[in-house]
Amino acid sequence: MTQAPDQALLWTIIIGLALGSFALRFAFIGLMGGRTMPPWLMRHLRYTAVAIIPALVAPLVAWPTPTGGTPSLPHIAVATAVFALGYLSRNVLIAMGGGAAGFLVLFLFVG
């Protein structure tokens, strides 16, 4: 187990995220009423999740933590397989199952 995170930082993150994500959800249904957002903004918002999440994952796959940051072919191969499975099946459950299987493969053969 890693060292406990700084308490002040942790609680700032929890409270900030709680308030922030509630505000994000409430802003529209609670305050906006019938008003609509400009189309250009909606067009960008549509791609937030599919841009931020891959941007977060890519370095984690290219320089995996378990190898201490050294690029590793097995990690990249398993990651690609899980991604492809999710894309082709369009099913989160199947993709997650594939992820679990992929982790098992890495655990057993790479360590």
Binding site: M1, T2, A4, P5, L9, L10, I13, I14, G16, L17, A18, G20, S21, F22, L24, R25, F26, A27, F28, I29, M32, G33, G34, M37, R43, H44, L45, R46, Y47, T48, A49, V50, A51, I52, I53, P54, A55, L56, V57, A58, P59, L60, V61, P64, T65, A79, V82, F83, G86, R90, N91, V92, L93, A95, M96, G98, G99, F103, F107, G111
Partner: protein
């Protein structure tokens, strides 16, 4: 079964939402385990899940905390991942916007992938539903998912403390995220946004303060939006060409 009362609307939502326990269960479990791995204690992990109630944002924050990213970057990145629920909220407003404020506040808290996906389909296909019925259906979809998410976090955090570090769970999070991305790539524009973000993120790790994530995210979003405009324009041109032929 047809929805005739507010109560039956709630139970219809409850039944429709039940299968999603299969998603929120493992996710909550994983969050609990990884939170403990990151050094959180069980009550901290619970408060995190209860107050934020947004899986992918929680995972993002956890990952960046372990990378010792600055606070501002952690908050902006996790909230950016959550912007999609803001869009859900915007899209539900025509159906739920006239409800009392306290109900809308509760609905805002409970707006997640599952409740949104089920509700929007239900509301679009059953336009005769009354406002209280719609709200009841929406709350019903969370009847299983929300308690399941909390319970799974709790169990995961308890179990997580027993898991030896040598199992290398560090790579589970990237795999879980990868599993999430695939089904989200519904259009060519989504695919372009995703791969542009990946290609930008790798060199952008050289930027200080984990700024690379935000930069790559923004570049990906702009690429997706731009691709959408192009694709729409091409489609219009094709229709136009057909009309004039």
């Amino acid at each position: 079964m047809a929805i005739t009362t507010t109560k039956s609307a709630f139970w219809k939502g409850f039944r429709d939402g039940a299968p999603f326990m299969l998603v929120s269960g493992p996710f909550g479990l994983l969050f609990g385990v990884l939170a403990v791995e990151a050094g959180l204690i069980v009550p901290e992990a619970m408060v995190f899940s209860l107050s934020v109630f947004a899986g992918s944002a929680q995972f993002t924050a956890l990952q960046l905390m372990q990378e010792n990213a600055p606070l501002v970057i952690i908050l902006i990145s996790a909230l950016a991942v959550n912007l999609r629920v803001a869009m859900y909220s915007a899209s539900l407003t025509p159906y739920l916007g006239d409800a009392p404020l306290w109900q809308r506040a509760c609905a805002a808290y409970l707006t997640v992938d599952q409740s949104y996906a089920l509700s929007i389909v239900q509301f679009e296909t059953h336009p005769q539903m009354t406002l209280p019925q719609r709200m009841a259906y929406f709350f019903g979809t969370n009847g299983c998912v929300a308690p399941c998410w909390m319970l799974a976090t709790f169990v995961g955090a308890l179990v997580g403390a027993q898991i030896p570090a040598s199992w290398g769970l560090d790579f589970v999070l990237p795999l879980a995220f990868l599993a999430m991305i695939g089904p989200m790539l519904r259009t060519p524009a989504h695919v372009i946004a995703c791969f542009t973000a990946i290609l930008t993120a790798l060199p952008a790790t050289a930027l200080p303060y984990n700024l690379g994530l935000i930069v790559a995210g923004l570049v990906g979003m702009m690429a997706g939006a731009q691709a959408e405009v192009w694709i729409e324009k091409r489609r219009e041109n094709r229709v136009f060409a057909k009309d004039t032929a």
